[in-house]
């Protein structure tokens, strides 16, 4: 944002609808500070230009959802589904995130400096999520493509029904979900984790010392006669 004077927009003065309309008007390269977010939902959604947006405080649900371009930096906590269906750009959360962080994100990078709650990266479709702290239960559920890096511990049922997304965990995994399995790290994994930890600024993650979780692919082909249970 060097050399660019930030535009300041306050949630005390604008409705969420007016806020997002104002953001859509801004030209590429603009810097914006959104003040007094006060837990509002749907801030900075559906933006397609290269903006640098700072949300000064705690925000609500769906922050930066559906975005395709901007960098969004939240100086606080976010509610459910930050960066849902993100296409490109970055989202950084300086505090903790509630459930479903990065749900269905197709691209871009979501960095959470604190902990993420349940179902982080649910149905991930190609985006990248980096969580400095712990991730809640059912994280990576049905994730199809993309990468999740958890710097801390993962709660129960990590990677349940995983497809081709890959999860790296720096801490402990309480339990794996159905059809998830640990796989040995390859050289390309170490490189990938090192790059991602570097991009996220996670100095506490040691790239060679993470657990890699992938799909066991047993659920890929549903066998109706298996065990005759159906």
């Amino acid at each position: 944002m060097a050399g660019v004077t930030a535009v300041e927009l306050s949630c005390a003065e604008l409705s969420v609808r007016d806020m997002n309309a104002a953001l859509r008007e801004l030209p590429d390269g603009s810097a914006v500070r959104i003040t007094q977010p006060r837990g509002r939902h749907n801030l900075a959604v559906g933006l397609t230009r290269r903006l640098d947006i700072t949300i000064v405080g705690n925000a609500g649900y769906f922050v930066a959802g559906l975005c395709d371009g901007p960098n969004v930096d939240v100086e606080g906590f976010v509610g459910w589904s930050v960066g849902e269906n993100l296409m490109s750009g970055t989202v950084r959360v300086r505090g903790n995130a509630s459930e479903c962080a990065g749900a269905s994100a197709r691209g871009g990078l979501i960095v959470i400096d604190g902990d993420a709650s349940s179902r982080a990266g649910i149905s991930l479709k190609g985006g990248t999520i980096a969580i400095a702290g712990d991730a809640g239960h059912m994280s990576g559920f049905m994730a199809q493509a993309g990468t999740i890096l958890i710097g801390g511990d993962a709660a129960d049922s990590l990677g349940d029904s995983l497809y081709e997304a890959v999860i790296y965990v720096g801490g402990k995994v309480r339990s794996l979900g159905a059809d998830a399995r640990a796989e040995e790290l390859g050289a390309e994994d170490v490189t990938r984790v090192r790059e991602l930890a570097g991009a996220a600024g996670f100095s506490h993650v040691s790239a060679g010392d993470v657990t890699k979780i992938v799909s066991a692919r047993h659920l890929y082909h549903f066998d109706a006669l298996k065990d005759q249970k159906y």
Binding site: R38, G39, R40, H41, G57, N58, A59, G60, Y61, G76, F77, G79, W80, G95, N96, S98, E99, G114, D115, S117, S118, G136, H137, A155
Partner: protein, 299 residues
């Protein structure tokens, strides 16, 4: 949906502002539940050894003076103080919790008892938060703890009795976001054991279950552990007792909850937006509680 909120003050300087802080929290959550609103306020303002009984009038203009004199005669206890709140009110008396509810029901069964104990007062009614809170003057209430609820009814009628909180044993109050699926069976089992119910509401079953467990010697944490074993469904529960506040979420944790804690208070709400007006909340540690973990705060 439904909205739930709670505030437990650690800093006594904030006690006079309890109502003033809680009403905006509930007002914001009215969007999650506009059908009815209720709040349990905790404060130690009764003379030592006395109990407060929060009573709801069967109709506006109820003859409370007559009720009080009949109660004094029946109980052999004088005086019984009455503090009016809107059409309802709180009776302050030395009649103990072991015989109070029975005695009060005998005076006039159409007067409903919404909560009782040394510290608790319960106000609840049909209508959105701003309206109901104004009706009872909640904003002007001092205290050290409050929990509240804004209801979007899903499984039983919208009436004053069906509103939360459910406060069915001394100083214990429960609010619930979600729905229990097996509550009818649990209610049948409790009823077979002699537990009586005021409504057909699912959340009342959880309140009665916790009350029964605690009467049998369990502490609040044990009782909530029992809730997770016995009751099936979706729930984020917020439960207050005289000296503690607790939350628990079911194993799916799909009913939201946000906690913000500072040196001055612990505040919880369905959505952060309800906490945004609290003093110093921007410096608070804010997080979402984990599923199947019991969080408690006490003095």
């Amino acid at each position: 949906m439904c909205g739930i909120a709670g505030l437990r003050l650690k800093n006594p300087d904030l006690y006079p502002r309890l109502g003033q802080l809680v009403v905006p929290m509930l007002d914001v959550l009215a969007s999650r539940g506009p059908d009815s609103t209720g709040v349990a306020v905790y404060r130690h303002d009764a003379p030592p050894g006395e109990q407060k009984y929060s009573l709801c009038a069967p109709a506006p203009g109820y003859d409370w003076a007559g009720y009080v004199s009949r109660l004094e005669a029946a109980a052999g206890v004088v005086p019984v103080a009455f503090r009016p709140r809107g059409r309802d009110g709180v009776i302050v008396t030395s009649i103990g919790p072991e015989r109070g509810p029975e005695l009060l029901a005998g005076i006039d069964p159409s007067v409903r008892l919404f909560g009782y104990g040394a510290a608790i007062e319960v106000y609840k009614d049909v209508g959105p938060a701003a309206e109901v809170c104004a009706r009872y003057g909640v904003a002007g209430m001092a205290g050290y703890q409050a929990i509240g609820h804004t209801r979007m009814a899903t499984e039983s009628a919208v009436t004053t009795e069906h509103s939360h909180p459910f406060a069915v044993s001394p100083d214990l109050a429960l609010v619930h976001n979600g729905s229990f699926s097996n509550y009818a069976s649990v209610r049948r089992r409790l009823a077979a054991g002699g537990v009586r119910f005021d409504t057909d509401n699912d959340s009342e079953v959880a309140a009665r279950y916790i009350a029964r467990e605690m009467a049998a010697g369990a502490d609040l944490t044990d009782a909530l552990r029992g809730v997770m074993k016995v009751l099936d469904g979706f729930f984020t529960l917020l439960v207050a007792a005289e000296e503690s506040l607790a939350i628990v979420r079911d194993s799916f944790a799909c009913k939201p909850m946000v906690v913000a804690e500072t040196a001055d208070y612990v505040a919880v709400a369905s959505e952060y937006v309800a906490l945004a007006d609290l003093p110093g909340v921007d410096k608070a540690e804010v997080f979402e509680p984990m599923p199947e973990e019991i969080y408690t705060w006490q003095a």
